[in-house]
């Protein structure tokens, strides 16, 4: 579904990603790991169109998307849940969700999408009219995920959804991720929590200083391999 070939991305003068090549098959959960600064978030932001690569290509279902604007990429069915949630603090929970259906296509099915989100996250339904800023960290994360679902994506990118959340909430969120995937969604997961990431994904890539240092089925990784992939190239 997603093909990335030889991607080079620069952050100002810094080369954040070099020669990244990776594949995401439809219906899978793919995990991206690596130390801080390895380029995980940069990769997701580039796929979503917030950053433009200097060279290389990103193809979604055969169509090249790396030159497109973020709003056009959303229309093609890719949704990013950004790091730090970044919900709209001045809008209510309901409006945050509805604005997720901003695209013309998504607006048509917004009632059904809203129902789905409230099924997944009954907590949000209770707090429909509360301001985004008044929610707790876990609730904001749920809202960010729900919001991303409202645009009717077929590929969702999750950027460190467990940051700052309690273990119980993290468990619940990951069960939700699995559930979303079982219903047909393709998922790319960036995570700092290695164990949890490896339990959830069927394919993992480890990044180090902007390059892919290890890839494969995480169940076959040894602790040694992982450590080396993180820290020494």
């Amino acid at each position: 579904m997603l093909e990335i070939r030889n991607l080079d991305v620069c952050y100002g003068e810094l080369q954040a990603l070099s020669g990244i090549t990776l594949d995401v098959e439809r219906g899978r959960i793919v995990s991206i790991l690596g130390a801080n600064g390895a380029g995980k978030s940069t990769l997701l932001e580039t796929i979503a169109g917030l950053l433009k690569p200097r060279s290389g290509s990103i193809r979604l279902n055969g169509k090249t998307i790396n030159h497109l604007e973020p709003h056009d990429i959303v229309k093609l069915g890719v949704s990013l849940v950004p790091q730090g949630r970044q919900i709209f603090s001045n809008l209510t929970v309901l409006k945050n969700l509805l604005i997720g259906s901003y695209t013309r296509l998504a607006r048509k099915s917004k009632k059904k999408a809203l129902e789905n989100v409230f099924n997944l996250f009954p907590h949000l339904k209770e707090r429909m009219h509360q301001m985004g800023a008044d929610l707790s960290g876990g609730e904001q994360q749920m809202l960010a995920i729900g919001r991303a679902l409202m645009s009717q994506p077929r590929l969702i990118l999750f950027d460190e959804i467990s940051l700052g959340l309690s273990p119980l909430v993290i468990k619940m969120l990951y069960l939700t991720v699995k559930r979303i995937n079982q219903e047909g969604m393709t998922v790319v997961l960036v995570e700092q929590d290695v164990k949890r990431s490896l339990k959830t994904a069927s394919l993992a890539y480890i990044l180090q200083e902007g390059k892919v240092s290890l890839k494969g089925d995480p169940k076959n990784f040894t602790e040694d391999e992982v450590r080396r992939a993180y820290f020494s190239l």
Binding site: P70, H71, P82, Q86, F88, L91, Y102, T103
Partner: protein, 287 residues
């Protein structure tokens, strides 16, 4: 006591006009974090358009607004798309420069076409006034200005609260990257916002043309009024801008009554300084 009732009431009514003058500036700053130095000139441009329609087509200013509003919307929209959007990236300086340049160009084009003569939109409205219990007069145009002010603010409030575009504008002001991730074309949203700001400038320009005399260079004094209103009322707040307008209007007329007509402007600025000292982010300001 009664002598203060007149400046109070007229000040409030005038404040409604000041609020409409300021809302365009407030919106552009609240949504795009930019200051449009050509805001006053957009207003005066509208005053001249209104005059044109009055003299050439015999259209009453309030009716001419139906033509001028869409016209000015496009002016604002196109300005943002073709001119201002390029200056959005690196801080506030590019936008300031571009809008400043635009203000100079507009002023001089108007000067060229319409000469520096003083103008005013003479309609029946302007001359009439209401006699309140025989004690004082309220110019009818002031009432019209206030009513239009309430209407404009009410419509804007509802628009921001209930429409998808209103939410999109809100979201883009809150977090531009997250807004992009919602499928919002933020460049287009900014253009719509600038279009709306230009519409408010258009409305206030027509009203100003009917209330006061204007020249090609009048834009500057209204820009300053707009700044004053926004500072008093607080940036990024719709009700704040309205209240700021009322406060400025009342301070000006009160000061003019107590200290003398020459002190009208000064009284307004004194209140501005006081607000800056005790509540720098404005009465209802957020950031």
């Amino acid at each position: 006591m009664l002598t203060f009732l007149e400046p109070l009431i007229n000040g409030i009514l005038l404040g409604g006009l000041y609020a409409v003058i300021a809302i365009g500036l407030s919106m552009v700053f609240g949504i795009m974090r930019q200051v449009n130095l050509a805001h006053g000139e957009l207003m005066i441009l509208s005053s001249y358009f209104t005059m044109f329609f009055l003299q050439v087509l015999g259209l009453h200013p309030l009716l001419a607004l139906f033509l001028i509003i869409p016209l000015m919307f496009f002016v604002g929209y196109l300005l943002q798309i073709f001119l201002f959007n390029r200056g959005m990236q690196r801080g506030m300086e590019p936008f300031l420069m571009i809008s400043f340049g635009l203000s100079i160009i507009l002023q001089n084009v108007l000067l060229l076409i319409f000469t520096p003569d003083a103008r005013s939109l003479k309609t029946a409205l302007v001359i009439k006034s209401i006699n309140v219990f025989g004690f004082f007069h309220i110019p009818l145009i002031y009432l019209v200005n206030f009513a239009v002010g309430i209407l404009v603010f009410g419509l804007l409030q509802q628009f921001m609260k209930r429409t998808y575009l209103g939410w999109a504008i809100n979201a883009s002001a809150d977090n531009v990257n997250a807004a992009k991730l919602m499928g919002i074309n933020t460049k287009k949203v900014y253009a719509y916002a600038m279009g709306i700001a230009a519409v408010t400038a258009a409305i206030s320009g027509a009203l100003v043309g009917m209330t006061f005399t204007f020249y090609p260079h009048s834009g500057t004094q209204y820009l300053i009024i707009a700044f004053g209103v926004v500072i008093i009322g607080g940036l990024g707040s719709l009700p704040g801008t309205f209240i700021g307008g009322l406060v400025l209007g009342v301070s000006q007329l009160f000061g003019g009554r107590i200290l003398g007509p020459g002190f009208q402007l000064l009284s307004g600025y004194m209140i501005l300084l006081i607000v800056l000292t005790i509540r720098p982010h404005g009465i209802l300001g957020r950031r």
